[in-house]
């Protein structure tokens, strides 16, 4: 075989094979990651639809007709990262400056997921409304490989009403 006739043949061949398999793994990760991201955005949209009548605001006081009987702090956080290939593309983008839409999508995805989680947690606790919602975002670092990730914390106060609960909101736009 031609590979074995060259003195460095098998070594080079082995190196090319491992390079090709790493590249294939990264591309596969990119494709799977894209599919999972789209599926996640669809599920976020569906869960927001289901929570359409659950009032959420970042106002400091509630503006509802009835008086609440109980209040509770609810928190939720999400840690998300991008795949290696996307990070590599983003680092090329960073050379030229400008928006990095990959990370924009990542943070938006984490933030919407965290907001959904506190709303769902509030609803599970028997609350009828969530006020004073705040966000905390912090970046995560992986110095050995430089993978970017983000942690988003969302917290707010869930209000529970008695038997004469508040009227549900008629219109609820999708969360930011």
């Amino acid at each position: 075989m031609a590979v074995n006739s060259h003195p460095l043949g098998p070594l080079l061949y082995g190196f090319l094979v491992s390079l090709a398999s790493v590249a294939a793994l990264l591309v596969a990760g990119f494709i799977v990651g894209t599919v999972l991201e789209r599926r996640h955005f669809r599920s976020i949209k569906a869960r927001n639809e289901r929570l359409k009548t659950f009032g959420t605001s970042n106002l400091r006081r509630h503006r509802l007709a009835a008086e609440p009987v109980g209040a509770k702090l609810v928190t939720a956080s999400v840690v998300m990262s991008v795949d290696h290939f996307r990070h590599f593309l983003a680092s090329i983008r960073m050379i030229f400056g400008g928006r990095i839409q990959t990370y924009e999508r990542l943070v938006r995805r984490a933030r919407q997921e965290a907001l959904l989680r506190i709303r769902e947690a509030a609803r599970r606790d028997g609350a009828a409304s969530l006020i004073n919602v705040r966000f905390e975002t912090s970046g995560l670092a992986d110095l050995s490989r430089g993978i970017g990730g983000v942690e988003v914390l969302a917290y707010g106060t869930a209000l529970r009403f008695g038997a004469s609960g508040p009227r549900p909101y008629k219109f609820m736009k999708e969360g930011a």
Partner: protein
């Protein structure tokens, strides 16, 4: 112990103020050392192990804040806020702080 991030608790009256209480944890930000995270990074997405780890650290910070409030004789903490800051390269502090108060049920 009651906690809200609003300035007052609905249905309760604030009787006494006991000052600002806080609790914090310092945690490492590195996510690469874990094998699972390394594998997950091939496809990206949520790192559930780290979400739980950071949720535990946050609960620890909240518990320390509530302990601070308890030693002052308060029974609730209002206007709770969270903030994160970089302590040193690779470590960040999660701080939970609020105002410790004594509340009792409002009588109308």
């Amino acid at each position: 112990m009651l906690m809200t991030n609003t300035e007052d608790i609905p249905g309760m009256t604030i009787m006494e103020f006991h000052g600002v209480v806080s609790g914090s944890t310092v945690r490492t930000k590195h996510i690469g050392r874990d094998i699972m995270a390394g594998l997950k990074n091939i496809v990206g997405g949520e790192l559930k192990g780290y979400t739980e780890l950071l949720a535990d650290a946050r609960q620890e910070a909240i518990d320390r804040m509530l302990e601070d409030a308890r030693t002052r004789g308060a029974n609730a903490v209002v206007n709770v806020r969270f903030t994160t800051s970089n302590i040193t390269q690779g470590a960040s502090e999660l701080l939970a702080y609020g105002t410790a108060v004594v509340v009792k049920k409002a009588v109308d």
